[in-house]
């Protein structure tokens, strides 16, 4: 039954041109990330000072940066960093949010109020400003980026899951389970969880590009990846520093970010339309 459902969902997505466009970009990103070494025409750390600030050419597809490093190769490596941070951070914050959201929705009233207050408080931190404050205290690196993302985003999952759980709590089939003496754990895992996952995955898909943007943004500010790491944000920072020498680093460095955020956002939209047409209104 599950297989049929997935088949029909994929079938419906393939009928939507925007979804096909989105999936093409995402598959492209994954392929580039996996085969980054094979498709890079140059070593991404190789400095060729004679060819600094080269415009795009057949040798350097997207030009070179201030140290004569090949921008295309650096961006290909950067896709690994982007994907890694996005997957790890979304998994952690999503899991925390899923658990807390179900506890809030299913637990006693005081616990619900307490968790809601925590969610509200965490939402009061503007992400990048909190990132700067924490960067002053924590060591520079991808784990700091992941910590910032988790702190600022798990409450979002928590809210969505809580709302969904609350609406299920008094559904007839749950009440029937209860009347038959099912334990709270059984109700939560067998009945609430599967029904919560739809909106949860839509939110996760929509959050992947947000996380990629936060990583790039923090690296742009110099509080993300360590120096020398080819994050997309670090490439953009080089482009910004040398904006008067060449426009190509910024132009090339921004493209993968825009494409990937577009891809995930369009896919999230398409998924939402297919899985839950009701959600469309509330956004």
């Amino acid at each position: 039954m599950m297989g049929q459902f997935r088949h029909s969902l994929l079938g419906r997505l393939l009928a939507d041109p925007m979804a096909v466009f989105a999936m093409t970009i995402i598959v492209g990103l994954v392929v580039v990330a996996i085969f980054a070494d094979a498709i890079s025409p140059h070593d991404h750390t190789l400095m060729n000072l004679a060819d600094r600030f080269a415009p795009p050419s057949s040798t350097y597809w997207l030009g070179t940066d201030n140290l004569g490093r090949d921008t295309f190769s650096r961006l290909a490596q950067g896709s690994r960093i982007a994907l890694y941070v996005a997957i790890v951070a979304v998994s952690i914050s999503g899991t925390i949010g899923l658990v807390l959201g179900m506890i809030a929705g299913f637990g006693p009233r005081w616990l619900d109020n307490l968790l809601l207050f925590i969610f509200d408080t965490l939402r009061a931190y503007p992400t990048i400003i909190l990132a700067l404050a924490l960067a002053a205290l924590l060591p520079r690196g991808l784990s700091t980026v992941i910590i910032v993302v988790v702190i600022t985003s798990f409450s979002e999952y928590g809210r969505v899951v809580r709302t969904q759980t609350l609406s299920l709590k008094n559904a007839e089939f749950i009440l029937a389970e209860r009347a038959m003496g099912a334990s709270a754990a059984r109700i939560v895992f067998h009945h609430v969880l599967p029904n919560v996952l739809g909106p949860f995955f839509i939110l996760a898909a929509m959050n992947l590009p947000v996380v990629i943007t936060i990583e790039a943004g923090m690296s742009f500010l110099g509080i993300g990846v360590p120096p020398g790491t080819p994050s997309w944000g670090a490439t953009l920072k080089d482009g910004f520093d040398y904006i008067r020498n060449t426009p190509w680093i910024i132009i090339a460095g921004g493209l993968p970010l825009i494409l990937v955020t577009l891809g995930f956002t369009f896919l999230g939209e398409a998924l939402r339309d297919q899985l839950d047409p009701k959600l469309r209104k509330s956004r």
Partner: protein
């Protein structure tokens, strides 16, 4: 819209929301303060910066009560804040409050500029889409909206700096303009606030379109049409007024995101403001200024979200009932 008929209920609701907002600011800042003072390492280094002399450190340790229990320290911290003392910016030898409050107006101008762009362009685009529902124009504007939402604001800032300032030279590349010269200030504000607002153009357009299509189905709109008012007049004068409400709320909550974008806009366009103040303070390990800026940024955001919430509740009684 019975604002007066249920004045008491509205007042009660407003009171609850204000209390909640104060509690959120209190907890959010206290949590950050706790992290700062309990982190391993000498807090005098953290709070004074690495260049402080041993004498300064000893005096500071005593005066700040750094050996007191954490809860006492938090209470003292709030005591100082409430009496208007946000500490000293030891790197530049000025009160933190002076640094923060001279930066805040620039960031507020940036955020309100972004709201201006997103409200005007977003409402126009949304109303236009609803007017031409299901036409190819509607589809194009729908795709554009999603594109605007998806584009990372700091990439938009960098691209617009590159295109409009560096290449075409239509707009200035750095600074906030001449003090006292409004035209120059607005000229410097246009591009950075556009870069922040663009994403919200997309959000507002979609919300306005959706709520407008909903409103157009209401009875009083049909009545207005039956009375012979033109379609255009009904859409832009009557339906739009109601359809704007949800957009107000989204923009209020969106100010948090705009503050994050403002950091990038301030750095990319070399503008003064809270974002560039925190940025400079972080690289100089200037913790009192980081703390003060956080307090002001969070206070500003929570206040704006609160105002948006209350405006909505005042205009739409259903919100209060929740």
């Amino acid at each position: 819209m019975c604002i007066f008929g249920r004045g008491e209920k509205m007042l009660q609701y407003a009171f609850q929301r204000v209390l909640l907002a104060l509690a959120i600011i209190f907890v959010a800042i206290s949590a950050l303060f706790t992290i700062m003072i309990t982190l391993p390492g000498d807090p005098t280094t953290v709070l004074l910066g690495p260049r402080a002399t041993p004498e300064l450190r000893a005096a500071f340790r005593l005066s700040m009560g750094l050996d007191d229990p954490v809860l006492v320290q938090i209470a003292n911290f709030w005591g100082r804040i409430l009496s208007g003392d946000m500490g000293m910016d030891y790197n530049r030898n000025r009160p933190v409050s002076e640094a923060v409050f001279s930066a805040l107006p620039h960031t507020m101008a940036l955020v309100f500029g972004a709201i201006f762009w997103s409200a005007t362009l977003g409402i126009l685009l949304g109303a236009f889409s609803a007017d031409n529902r299901n036409s190819w124009l509607d589809r194009v504007s729908g795709i554009l909206s999603v594109g605007f939402i998806a584009a990372p604001s700091f990439v938009v800032a960098l691209y617009s700096l590159l295109l409009f300032s560096v290449t075409l030279r239509w707009f200035p590349t750095i600074g906030a303009g001449e003090p006292g010269d409004l035209a120059s200030r607005l000229y410097h504000l246009a591009l950075p606030s556009f870069a922040i607002g663009l994403a919200w153009v997309g959000y507002v357009a979609r919300i306005v379109r959706a709520s407008m299509l909903e409103t157009l189905g209401e009875n009083y709109i049909r009545t207005a049409r039956a009375f012979g008012l033109t379609r255009r007049k009904v859409i832009y004068n009557y339906a739009l007024r109601v359809a704007i409400l949800p957009a107000v709320q989204v923009l209020g909550v969106g100010i948090g995101g705009m503050l994050s974008s403002a950091v990038f806009a301030e750095i990319v366009f070399s503008r003064p403001g809270i974002g560039s103040l925190i940025y400079d303070s972080v690289s100089g390990r200037n913790y009192p200024v980081v703390m003060g800026s956080m307090l002001v940024a969070i206070g500003f955001f929570v206040t704006c979200a609160l105002i948006a919430d209350l405006v909505n509740a005042a205009l739409d009684p259903r919100q209060r009932a929740k």
